[in-house]
Amino acid sequence: MSSVELSTPALRASRRRYGEDIIKGLLALCALVSVATTVGIVFALLLPAIEFFREISIVDYLTGKEWTPLFEPANFGVLPLVGGTMVVTLWACLVAIPFGLGSAIYLSEYARPRTKSFLKPALEVLAGIPTVVFGFFALTFVTPLLRDIGVQVDIFNALSAALVMGVMLIPTVASLSEDAMAAVPHELRDGGYALGSSKLQVSTRIVVPAAISGIVASFVLAISRAVGETMIVLIAAGLQPNLTFDPRRAMETMTAFIGSTGTGDIPTGSIEYKTIFAVGLTLFVMTLVMNLFAIRLVRRFREVYE
């Protein structure tokens, strides 16, 4: 980073070193792979999606309440998929956000350094479990459990998928929020204590507000991940596009539709094939907006305190 300034003084190399230039070029080429990935994603989604919207009006797509692309008569209203995604995301966040934030406050303000050095990696273990495993757990453990305690859920239902997804996202919220809280300078806390505040007051009225941009970023990132999560909903939430807000019913999310339709041998170029890309584009745009928002927020808290 600062090596840039170091090499600028008048001490110039006596001759141009072509080897050095080539190396810089090769490294820049590596970096270009990421750019190419983004360009590739945009083109992969956009081209078939444009063809799709030539056949199906974009207004019908965005406002239609029937999603039956594979049956006759075919309907291409994306609202049931968006609704399913929103219901799952909402319930997942009801779990992930309070528990994630609580864990973060505990880790940052209450835990002793030794406890923290053990708890944080342990939380990472939870984050490292593959989503297909969480899907299995939701279908074969949580759904029967919900029925046992008297919640009338369908065999495939949005609720158990969302609850398990919520727990899966606790580390996402906790780890980024904790980073933001750890970046709050100690002087602010000491000032609070000097005025006679309790630990509870310092945590909730000084540290949390001071770290708020990072905390909100962690929420946004969790929402974005919930919207984009595939395997849990594919396994446990069922594949019926239902426009309902009752999480006990089976639902289909955008990701589950893509995952279940993309497996078959759908002929390239058919309208069914193109729906994958139209839904994929919708999903990509939604997560892109949230990701950019979160990235900007994270940058802000890094600028203020680090």
Binding site: M1, S3, G19, E20, K24, L27, A28, C30, A31, V33, S34, V35, T37, T38, I41, A44, L45, F99, L101, G102, S103, Y106, L107, Y110, L119, P121, A122, V125, L126, G128, I129, P130, V132, V133, F136, F137, T140, F141, V167, P171, A174, S198, T204, S224, V227, G228, T230, I235, T255, I258, G259, G262, T263, T268, I276, F277, G280, L283, T287, N291
Partner: protein, 282 residues
């Protein structure tokens, strides 16, 4: 002068915080316990030597386990050079004031958060149907490479950034060129951090299911996979078995989960060991 009431509120708050932390750990414990209980039945040598079968008593996961190992190896070979190269470029060469370097950074941060199924669509459009590489191990490895690349880049950048500037300055003062500084001073010092980050990213990659489904891994494979042959990976097999309604297949899925988690735990333990053994504090 402490009010008693405030102390009680503080204690309750502390308990609430502990409880929210407990939610994650209790779920994790329940999950591991549940899977171990369900999958124990089929955990025997046959599981590692037989191909999948419609008879649960005969079924094993050999082709899927092998394919996952191949995917992991290919993933490592392809992501580490690309990821480390990008990280070196961004940390040591790029001028942060240029708009394109800033854009590159935001681009990588966003790619790290793009849903994995979208990478699957990319694979479906370009690798499988585009360049006509059929539904093979290499196609799966390519798509997983793009998927975990941002994670590797971010980890490698952090490791490189942790190397103190005094080392670079000392090397420059002795007349080293930029590449000499990077290759002989910065990289050796950053390798433990890079290795840890890469292994963690690898374990994320081989646990992925959705993108592999999109490039055609959801299929019946009875023979050992080859680089350019059809394949099904362990997570995909878990999905497949879970979607059968019979209890025995669910039990097989649990067995496969035990094997997959054991592989991932081994990788994670390796990463933690590397970090503790070699990481230097400056």
């Amino acid at each position: 002068m402490k009010g008693r009431r405030r102390d009680i509120r503080g204690a309750i708050f502390r308990l609430v915080l502990l409880a929210s932390l407990a939610v994650a750990f209790i779920t994790l414990g329940t999950l591991l316990f549940d899977v171990a209980g369900k999958g124990f039945k089929f955990l025997d040598p046959r599981f590692f030597t037989s191909p999948p079968s419609l008879d649960p008593q005969e079924a094993g996961a050999r082709p899927a386990i092998l394919a996952t190992l191949y995917l992991g190896l290919l993933l490592l070979v392809m992501t580490v050079p690309l990821g480390v190269g990008t990280a070196i470029y961004l940390e040591e060469y790029a001028d942060k004031k240029r708009w394109y370097n800033r854009l590159l950074e935001v681009n990588i941060q966003n790619l790290a958060a793009v849903p994995s199924i979208v990478y699957g669509i990319l694979g479906l459009a370009f690798i499988v149907r585009g360049i006509g590489l059929d539904r093979v191990v290499l196609a799966g490895a390519l798509i997983l490479t793009l998927l975990v690349l941002p994670t590797v880049i971010i980890a490698a950048r952090e490791a490189i950034r942790a190397v103190p500037d005094s080392i670079r300055q000392a090397a420059y003062a002795l007349g080293a060129t930029r590449w000499q500084v990077v290759s002989r001073q910065v990289l050796p010092a950053a390798i433990p951090g890079i290795a840890t980050g890469s292994i963690l990213a690898l374990s994320r990659g081989i646990g992925e299911t959705a993108p592999l489904i999109m490039v055609g891994a959801l299929t019946y494979v009875a023979f050992d996979p080859s680089l350019l042959g059809p394949f099904t990976a362990l997570p995909v097999l878990i999905y497949q078995w879970t979607s059968f309604p019979q209890d025995d297949f669910r039990a097989l899925a649990a067995t496969a989960i035990i094997v997959l988690l054991a592989m991932l735990m081994t990788l994670n333990a390796l990463a933690i060991w590397l970090r503790n053994r070699y990481q230097r504090r400056w």
